[in-house]
Subunit: 691 residues, 2 copies
Amino acid sequence: MNWPIVAMLVSLLALGVAAWLYAWVKSQPSSNPDVERIGVLIRKGANTFLGREYKILAIFVAVVAVLIVLFLPRPFWKGDIGENIMMAISYIIGSALSALAGKIGIFVATIANVKSAEAATKSKNLSFMAGFRGGAVMGMAVVGTSLLGVAGILMLTGDATAVLGFSFGASSLALFAKAGGGIFTKTADVSADLVGKVELGIPEDDPRNPAVIADNVGDNVGDVAGMGADLFDSNVASMAAALVLAMALDGNIGINTGMVFCYAAIGLLSSIIGILFGRIGKNGNPSTALNKCTYITTALFAVLTAAATFAFSFDWRYWTATIIGLLVGTVIGLASDYFTNDEKKPVQLVARASRSGPAFTILSGFSYGLLSSFPSLVGIGVSSMASYLICDTISAGNTDALFGISMAAIGMLSIVGMIISNDAYGPIVDNARGLVEMGNLGEEALEITDDLDSAGNTVKAITKGFAVGAAGLTVIALLGAYMAEANAALAEHGLELLTGFDVMNPVVFFGMIVGVAIPAIFSAMLIMGVDRNARRMVAEIHRQFEEIPGLKEGREGVLPEYDKCIDIATRGALRELIPAGLVAIAVTLAVGFIGGVHAIGGFLVGNILSGILLALLMGNAGGTWDNAKKYVEAGNEGGKGSVAHKAAVVGDTVGDPFKDTAGPSINTQITVVSLAASLTAGLFATISLFS
Amino acid sequence: MNWPIVAMLVSLLALGVAAWLYAWVKSQPSSNPDVERIGVLIRKGANTFLGREYKILAIFVAVVAVLIVLFLPRPFWKGDIGENIMMAISYIIGSALSALAGKIGIFVATIANVKSAEAATKSKNLSFMAGFRGGAVMGMAVVGTSLLGVAGILMLTGDATAVLGFSFGASSLALFAKAGGGIFTKTADVSADLVGKVELGIPEDDPRNPAVIADNVGDNVGDVAGMGADLFDSNVASMAAALVLAMALDGNIGINTGMVFCYAAIGLLSSIIGILFGRIGKNGNPSTALNKCTYITTALFAVLTAAATFAFSFDWRYWTATIIGLLVGTVIGLASDYFTNDEKKPVQLVARASRSGPAFTILSGFSYGLLSSFPSLVGIGVSSMASYLICDTISAGNTDALFGISMAAIGMLSIVGMIISNDAYGPIVDNARGLVEMGNLGEEALEITDDLDSAGNTVKAITKGFAVGAAGLTVIALLGAYMAEANAALAEHGLELLTGFDVMNPVVFFGMIVGVAIPAIFSAMLIMGVDRNARRMVAEIHRQFEEIPGLKEGREGVLPEYDKCIDIATRGALRELIPAGLVAIAVTLAVGFIGGVHAIGGFLVGNILSGILLALLMGNAGGTWDNAKKYVEAGNEGGKGSVAHKAAVVGDTVGDPFKDTAGPSINTQITVVSLAASLTAGLFATISLFS
């Protein structure tokens, strides 16, 4: 079987399904002019942001592409310039495809939100389906284009290093999309809440609030396009790592390379089938419906890969590693759910602590965030150790064992199509809820969209846990890929090969301890960026309420200048993001030039360890605070307006940039650094101060 | 020269100086009966806590001693039981000497506070000197007993492993003293503030507040006894690591072992001389006076060790490593100062952010905490790499290089006598300020003690940075000691020796990723302990204000039941501490039995990396919040009672358990785990599931 071709065919099928789902969404009725008008504002805002972002990104990509042509994988005066050009092209295609997937996702999400809002006046199931199928377009688009791209690049070049270049392109885009989108969305969210809810006491999504459209745009650019780019990136990176190692095992494209594509195609197929089950009964529970789809996909994947392994004589050890990854992903998801679900103790105890004031909300939520890292870290540790040991044979060096780890990552990410669908569902129904409120579609519709929205939040916690776990395993596999790349360069210069990274080697240890600092600095810079940007937007909201007559009173026909706020969020997000990204890359290069390939190995490990810890801490603490606030608002611990509520709002505000800006961006930061290290391994193998 | 004997003589000199300083403090007048009465309450409270703590500790030490006799360094049926008994005795002596030093420190501090308060009515210099010399007694007692103990144990047994046992004893005590004391002090502090300042609006240190004595007791048990035990522990651990490696280099006690004692003795001598300079002019600045002593000690140490190295032909490479440690310690201290000093940008910007409410206080302070980890991590990384590379020779394996790292730790800790003196000065003058307020000693005395107190806070940030840096280098050196111990056991069983810990080995990686979680869990459990315990105490304070007639109104002769609050803080601290300590040790054993000596190596690295990161984050964020609050209270950003002030108080309350409970306890937790690993290396070398 020519598995890359099979994978490309399944990808095209997924894109076909995406088109069909889009047609279905598009065919749903939308008649309310108010809702339509606001929907257009949101769509335009999102496109403005994407346009500006992509323009800056295009410059960035162009600069990096030139650098690649000059220096990577080998300086042009030493190597084959054709290889460098191929790498640069792969890089450009990686970023372009990821951008395209994001654009498709936003395009559909900003239609589906209107359809879902409108449908809520008629049927809960239709409203749900508009949201879910809108999200599924994104899921199919991301996985379809990424698999198509990876398979295509490998077919064209026959070189796994080019896939690394493709992956680096996807990561560059993800860094902008996730971190930039994260700053945008939280700037708008925090500012809208601060002036609207806290100062003026007007409800969420009140159309008088100048930041309200920016807030809804933020859901789309942060949670749809940003999250999609993030998982596009993880998915491609896990495949790139697996392919580098598979081709090292096979000698060239062989049975293991084929297996990677076969499993990825089966994962995508399973997601397609799972998506078709996405519907609820008249009074059904939307969370159950979403989870049902996930379980169907998971079970299908396990069964079909087993059948394929039997039929095509793949190695059962790698199948086992894949399934271990899948299972551990589920465990990590469930652990995240435990810490952030309002039916469980942590959220309820944080709500209880809020009775003593905001300091106790923060302390207890932060403590649960720290605790929540334990099951996930142990899960990642156990799955990487188990898949390594299962796949280890003495004869093959340790490449087979590392390949086992990369297959565990593939397993964890196999159902990513389903995960993105669930995840993109969230912001769509969140938007729909806003549109129902702004368009006055009635109490019943509001109740329905509230219910759909809350299911989105619950499912989000699980998928976020998944994303961190997947990123963790992927970067471990990338460590193996990095070593393979560095060794290729070392061998070329007749230097001693790496056999590993010994922490007792001071150069490795130096890299490691500096690496630990990077996710910390990166997330601090993003949080500070949100903070600074929110300050600018709050000033603008104040100005509008002061200078536009009749706005505060809600006089008929008086509208705020929504686009000013969108503009501030856009400019600020891009401005605040760039230094953070540059620091991460600059320190990587500095460590490489000081300590060479050994130091970079340690540096990557330090990055991974502190990155996973901080991502879990921030993501889960943020989720706990968010749901503790909602739990109080549902009438517990004194309900709305109580001391506990005020304290819980503080927790939620702290949690917003934790969980939606810094936490998830750390994944991307680690991946970018890992890929940058793999690509520059050749340089640092020959040029460095110590080592 | 018989350097251990010289070190013991200098230790005795230090104890003599301590006695002289004590006599000086004791000879200062104290005539005010109110102050004396409250002073007695504080003294009794502190002794109650110490008594209970030591009672529980005695049981703990007895159990561990029995386990040591049975199993360590080798199971009694396999090895020499005499060796095991010797180890158990060293362990008991280690914990007993550390306890004694803590007891001495508390004894003097609870006299010096009264003297300093009384002196404030007459002379600023006398008030300062009472505080500083009281603190110096602690400094001399800690360093004198620890050096005496280490030298004595080595003289008696001739075995560096016994010194590890001694060090483990000191660490066990430090865990109780630092974490238990940390929970005690913050329970009392948070509860007293919550009911006193926030609910009732009565000033700090108001004698009507039932928690006020507990709060002052907390300063002593947390900051005097706890911090003393922590630095006793670090100091002994750094010497133990250096001695294990020196004796491996020398074959037995030789020139390098001698150098360790020589440098330690010179450090102690330099501290003694530095202390004698501790005085201020009539209107002098107390911070300047404290820093002057530190600089004198540092300079003396550098010069005298150079002279000794020349005179006794020690290896200049090790001297260089020692001085690098000293310099980097200073850099780390200055970096901590930058992030927590109210004359610098971070504190001022956190105060500014507080104008937008508590969420922004938290976000900005947390971000600076994350950023603050960078210079210290780079400092630790550079100093360990530089000292390794300077001391590395191919002929000696890498033992000489690891010994270089341990000498950098010795260098960083060389001035520990001075550091403890500065640090213990803080709580004494803090107490004195309370006594001046409670005893109504007048406005002028209050101003003087306020000034002395604020100098204590400034110096504290620097010394805390030092402590984290020293702990970091020490545990890196302990990693070398662990490998040496594990290899001794492996050699005995004819197994393959460790040459390092390769992160690409899945068992090492598993240990590492689990190790990352431990400081996170440990600190979360301590923070939650403070939270739960403060809740109990707040309930008790409410009960007293309700049930004791005339208390709230401050009727003459009506006193709260101070001892009830002390009792709650004491019981709670010990109850909350034990599970946290057990989890850390249980996971260490579990990882050892699963993955053997390789996994434990990784586990220690994971512990070190996340421990240093979290300790810096929590310590510095806490310091920033504390000083931002004080900055606002000094009249900036709206001053007392403003929105910014309320927000800054929330930041300070969050920061309290961060900086005084969890952050500094992490040091001790890492050291305990490292030593437990070294001692049990023999067991895990032969018994484990994988590896």
